[in-house]
């Protein structure tokens, strides 16, 4: 009958025999790879600081859960997206869409803006005045060219879509805000500039038969009336 003591003793003897078979440590001249050494160092560091490692792991888990929850809210809720991003710009193959998912400031008084000057020969042709935005149209004296100035401040779901197929898209800065400039490849078409004023969360668009520099100048000098 083999007892547990006998098994323990045999195991200890086997352990001793196996250890005796191993070469002397000084005889082992193996160079471990830097990658292996780095990993071993990391393992040893973890063993030396188990509590710190556990805390870091837990903090990382909590942060990951928070990040994923936040990303899900962003994807699902337009209100959260509006609160975080304000106007959202999405570029597609043939157009750019600027949209404001949902207003958080219901009932605020609308602000009025106007162009710093109207190019010579142009007169007001019409106006589209809506709760979601205002666009003022100007026509030249021969009535064949139309330029316009539009703006919108934090409307409830509103989207502006600007078609860009026959246009070269450039970027510029308007009073510190990034602007899209649409330069027509066809001289018979107007150029345009679109930017979002980050301070007032307002979308602006000027479309006119003007050079890029003049469009930027006009954009930088928009007048706030009320």
């Amino acid at each position: 009958m083999i007892t547990e003591n006998m098994i323990s003793q045999a195991a200890a003897e086997l352990n001793e025999a196996m250890l005796n078979c191993l070469p002397e440590a000084t005889a082992c001249n193996h160079n471990f790879s830097p990658r292996f050494q780095k990993r071993m160092k990391r393992v040893l560091h973890r063993l030396k600081h188990p509590i710190r490692h556990r805390v870091i792991q837990r903090v990382a888990c909590v942060l990951l859960v928070m990040l994923l929850s936040f990303a899900s809210f962003l994807a699902i809720s337009p209100t959260v997206r509006a609160a975080v991003f304000g106007w959202i710009r999405e570029q597609y193959e043939s157009f750019i869409e600027y949209y404001f998912p949902e207003s958080l400031n219901h009932g605020t008084e609308p602000t009025t803006y106007q162009l710093p000057y109207i190019p010579e020969g142009y007169e007001e042709f019409g106006k589209s005045e809506q709760s979601s935005g205002i666009t003022i149209y100007y026509a030249n004296h021969t009535n064949d060219r139309l330029m316009y100035f539009g703006y919108s401040t934090e409307p409830d779901f509103t989207a502006y879509r600007v078609d860009i197929e026959a246009f070269k898209l450039e970027t510029a800065s308007v009073n510190g805000n990034s602007a899209d400039i649409f330069i027509s490849t066809d001289p018979s078409q107007a150029n345009a500039i679109v930017w979002i004023d980050s301070k007032t969360n307002t979308y602006f668009c000027i479309s006119a038969y003007l050079e890029k520099e003049e469009l930027i100048y006009m954009a930088e000098n928009i007048l706030r009336i009320s």
Binding site: L68, S94, Q130, G133, T135, A159, Q189
Partner: protein, 119 residues
């Protein structure tokens, strides 16, 4: 290695969750502004289409539907530009879609659609 792959997959999922879906086709620089907002049981539909010249002929078909059921249709027109604004009565608890089809000088623009809930 497996951990690295997991991190890359999580980051990719995060990016995909906020990346828009690409679609539609169009022609020239025409600014279209469309809006659908709901206050109580009243839906406000607005549309502004800017043409390229004072003689651009613009027409639109605006539909408000509750699922497959069309509850209101408007067909405004304009020359040079089109400006439309009107309200529609809605029922609480339903989801409504405003679809907008615009034609400028005989050429159809891509359909615009906004869906909102009346809560």
């Amino acid at each position: 290695m497996k951990r690295h792959i997991s991190i890359v997959v999580i980051l990719a999922l995060l990016l995909l969750s906020v990346t828009p879906i690409v679609n539609a086709q169009s022609t020239r620089i025409i600014q279209t502004q469309y809006s659908f907002s709901i206050s109580g049981t009243t839906g406000l539909c607005e549309l502004t289409v800017s043409g390229n010249s004072t003689t651009s002929s613009i027409s639109a078909t605006i539909k408000i539907s509750d699922g497959d059921r069309c509850i209101r249709t408007w067909t405004p027109t304009g020359t040079g530009f089109l400006s439309f604004s009107d309200t529609v009565s809605l029922a609480k608890g339903n989801e409504y879609t405003m679809t907008v089809d615009v034609t400028i000088d005989g050429k159809a623009e891509p359909t615009y659609a906004i869906t909102k809930s009346c809560t």
